[in-house]
Amino acid sequence: MMNKIFSIIIVISIAYGIYSGNFSQLSDSLLNDPSSAVELVIFLTGSMCLWGGLMRIAEKAGITCYMAMLFRPAAKLLFKGLDLNGKAFRYICMNVTANILGLGNAATPLGIEAMKELEKVHISEGGDPLRASDNMVTFTVLNTASLTIIPSTCAAIRAKYGSASPMEIFPAVIITALSALTAALLASQILKRFSKQTGDDK
């Protein structure tokens, strides 16, 4: 997908830039933008390493376990009919807490394990292996929403461009993230009625 998007942006931009007479700007962009990408990465590396280090301490101190306990009641509501002592549920809790702490690198492999376990449950219940189960959909939808509580990368870039208060957006981020999450989960609860897990609408 990125292959297409990348080529389309480059070809269309250069074509339109030449057509509208903006070719000196195009040339400037090709000469300068690669180095501004390097500056961006150098700048972000510091903040990324700091949070990677802090979150690793949090993980080792068992903060992840407390957060998994907090998530249990919500998970019970979201994942209907899932065994709360099963492997799938354990992976789901670990994935969600990693997401909340902003440990993207840890969250993805845990999420993939959770999907595989959910698939096993689905197949053992006689579901069609080629169609996602309700719980697989809910879990993926949960992961397409942002659960991170500290927008550290975002705040770092705000600080870089001279924001008077890089974290002032924090309340707005929480409100927006929660609204988006609620909308996505509500949509998945409503839409599942129109596309049955058993595949009888094929």
Partner: protein, 174 residues
């Protein structure tokens, strides 16, 4: 002085204190975690060079103004700043692409301007939807993802709209 600026120092202190109480080797673990993310940030560089340049070309061509003008009836109705349209379009597709666009918006508009704040909220509160779905469903046999994409997009669209509303409510348009 803003109370929200307390969040980061408090969380950092809380983490280190909990680590001390639980007898974690705080410094050694910090170094390990930092090392992991150092590798991530280095691996980010090639794709960011490609995307920052592609997005720079896009801006230099004058196309964003054309698109913003075409979409202005919709964005004006929602009070969504036109500078943030490219970010809203790329956010669900590519994480590093969104980072490149976000960096550009904050460079052009001040981070404390209306567009800068909406871009920040959007960046902090949404995820790379298409990438997540692709990675998670690649791990299982199910090819029919059923209502995954429409539900996830409902969340993204809500995020775009609420980002503008929440910034206006909390900061006003300035």
């Amino acid at each position: 002085m803003n109370a929200a600026d307390l969040v980061i120092p408090l969380i950092a202190a809380l983490i280190v204190l909990t680590g001390l109480i639980k007898k974690v080797n705080v410094f050694d673990e910090f170094i390990e975690g930092a090392k992991e993310n150092l590798q991530t940030s280095v691996s980010l560089l090639p794709s960011l060079i490609a995307l920052v340049t592609a997005i720079g070309l896009f801006k230099a061509s004058g196309l964003p103004e054309v698109i913003a003008a075409a979409m202005s009836p919709l964005t004006n109705a929602l009070g969504f700043p036109s500078e943030c349209i490219p970010l809203a379009l790329i956010r669900p597709i590519s994480g590093s692409g969104a980072l490149a666009v976000f960096d550009g918006i904050l460079r052009d508009c001040h981070p404390d301007s209306y567009a800068g704040r909406v871009a920040s909220v959007l960046m902090g509160s949404t995820e790379t939807t298409f990438y997540t779905i692709a990675v998670y469903f690649a791990a299982v046999k199910a090819k029919d993802t059923r209502h995954t994409l429409p539900s996830a997009l409902a969340g993204d669209i809500t995020g775009f709209i609420v980002s503008a509303i929440s910034v206006r409510l909390l900061f006003g348009i300035c």
